[in-house]
Symmetry: C2
Subunit: 340 residues, 2 copies
């Protein structure tokens, strides 16, 4: 099935590039409220489900046992920029688990912003696993392993007790079966299991509302939802879409990006979950798709509308800063969303 | 018209992302030898036609008057990494024109490689227009303006004599009419005129062979072709596709990338020009498309085949360096190419 073009990139008078995609909006019972494209094909959710992967950390009582604070829980669900506050918080999480940085098995990554790269260069240092955008998630995994009393070494492997706990939580939240036939390896070396968009949206409808969940799980999703929307900077960082959209909407919207053009979101006041993927894997397009869907679903006051507008139609500039093009939803997509 | 999926990105057992595109292979008379997708829709060629944009510099005698050497001509056609040799060569080009770096109107850009970024950070410097991947092209434009005796200021504007010369050369090489209705602004602030892939491929069939060109133009394309294939490092840089494919094939293949997934190439021994665009603008996919087309067209000895293989199916690694996926041509595309 061919997914339609949802987002276009203009330059001067013409459309320069086109991005296709699919999305699902689902309620807590699993009913599809709206969708475009193929929402039954399994897609790797990558980092878009870090909040689900953090459930065992909270549900098991490990987060409480370790004394993790809300900003650290948000970091456990983050794809952060590797800014100073992110890196420091990841270090504190490891400290609380009594572990050293060399326990991290996520591999090294340069910070996202040149300002933070410069700090390393001036100190003549190379990036470390602690700078990896996934270091908070991994620090959470390590904390869980410690509290579970299992070896921390190899915690990224599919058959490690930590990954089995995570798989069970994601299976139960999404209702999808996660077998080897849909198992790839994520950029940070943990397994990523492909799940249909329909199921991902269903999971995030439950994540935002707690509906249909056992009391322990419901308390865990509430704690994680609140930790994320209350600490949007910890979830991504300076000038990042996830941070910006959660800052615009306060606690009304939760949204999380994943590599290769995936995005998940929860809108508790509407009882809805959203999942989307840009076919070609482009983050620039998945962000505009998510902004357009949120724009269509969520009532906005003046400030919220203004804040969202910038995310809905990001400008393309030349290297002197002149406005030379735009990224925006195509008319058919906007029209469809307007009729939702 | 829907262009087909040509390249897929795998992870573990599944395809994670898909890239669509169109391409044309054309001979010097303008006959279409092979094509897939819409090759009549104008696409912005961006940096893929820098070699055509350098024609007035050579044809006018300006390059000779300035004493530009072959590596500098290659830099005038380059999208370079901002490595030390690139930046130094751009400085020499400006020096030969009697101009300072502040004449450059391309805007600043960080070098592509962390090693080169580190040099700036350690010196507490910000990037300058000389580090911009287009600085060689702009140094060529400035040299042409000097020899033409026109003001250098504003040389990036569509109605400046330098840009009018370039537009005329590109119109005559492509056979396309370049009006305001197809004119956007490139990342380096010069005009970029959209041209159908069919016409771009035709231009590069002529560029590689000189066929059908007046003697002065034929001498200019020969000088530029040779300068590029003899100095592949100056055209892009360390670990870059353009540099790698020209290094693999010596003087047998010329190839040049442009932003938003455009690629042009010449294969003189076959009398063919190639132009392609990945619909969504992804460079990773346009590179594999170009490698696949060259693989299908060009006879290879063992070393060439081995060198090309790495470009045909680049590996995706996690941050610890483990192989977790691949970028490769889809079966239908490979099958089509096999029947060419």
């Amino acid at each position: 099935m061919d997914n339609p073009v949802l987002v276009e990139v203009t330059r001067g008078p013409l459309v320069e590039s086109r991005h296709r995609g699919a999305f699902a909006v689902v309620d807590p019972e699993g009913n599809i409220v709206a969708s475009i494209g193929d929402i039954a094909r399994p897609v790797y959710p990558r980092s878009a489900i870090k909040a689900l992967q953090a459930l065992p950390l909270v549900e098991s009582g490990a987060a409480e046992a370790l004394g993790l604070e809300a900003p650290e829980l948000a970091l456990a669900c983050s794809s952060h920029n590797g800014e100073e506050r992110h890196v420091n918080a990841a270090r504190v999480m490891l400290l609380k688990a009594g572990l050293e940085e060399d326990s991290l098995e996520c591999g090294p990554q340069w910070p996202a912003r040149m300002e933070d790269v410069a700090v390393l260069h001036r100190a003549d240092e190379m990036p470390c696993p602690i700078h990896n955008n996934c270091s908070g998630k991994h620090a959470g995994f390590l904390g869980l392993a410690k509290v579970m009393g299992v070896p921390t070494k190899g915690y990224v492997l599919p058959d490690h007790p930590v990954q089995l706990e995570i798989k069970a939580a994601v299976e139960s939240m999404t209702g999808a079966v996660l077998g080897q036939d849909v198992c790839g390896t994520d950029g940070c070396s943990i397994p990523t299991y492909a799940v249909p968009l329909r199921n991902l949206a269903h999971a995030f409808a439950r994540f935002g509302t707690g509906e249909g969940l056992e009391p322990g799980r419901a308390a865990a999703v509430e704690a994680l939802y609140d930790a994320n929307v209350d600490n949007p900077y910890m979830v991504a960082g300076t000038e990042r879409f996830c941070t910006n959209i959660m800052t615009v909407f306060g606690d009304r919207v939760y949204a999380k990006t994943g590599a290769e053009g995936v995005f998940c979101a929860s809108i508790p006041e509407l009882g809805l979950g959203i999942a989307l993927k840009c076919d070609d894997g482009a983050t620039r397009a998945s962000e505009v798709m998510m902004a357009a869907i949120v724009d269509a679903l969520v009532e906005q006051d003046e400030d919220e509308a203004k804040g969202l507008q910038r995310l809905l139609r990001p400008e393309i500039s030349d290297r002197r800063g002149a406005h030379v093009g735009d990224i925006l939803p195509v008319e058919e997509f906007s029209g469809f969303l307007g009729r939702m």
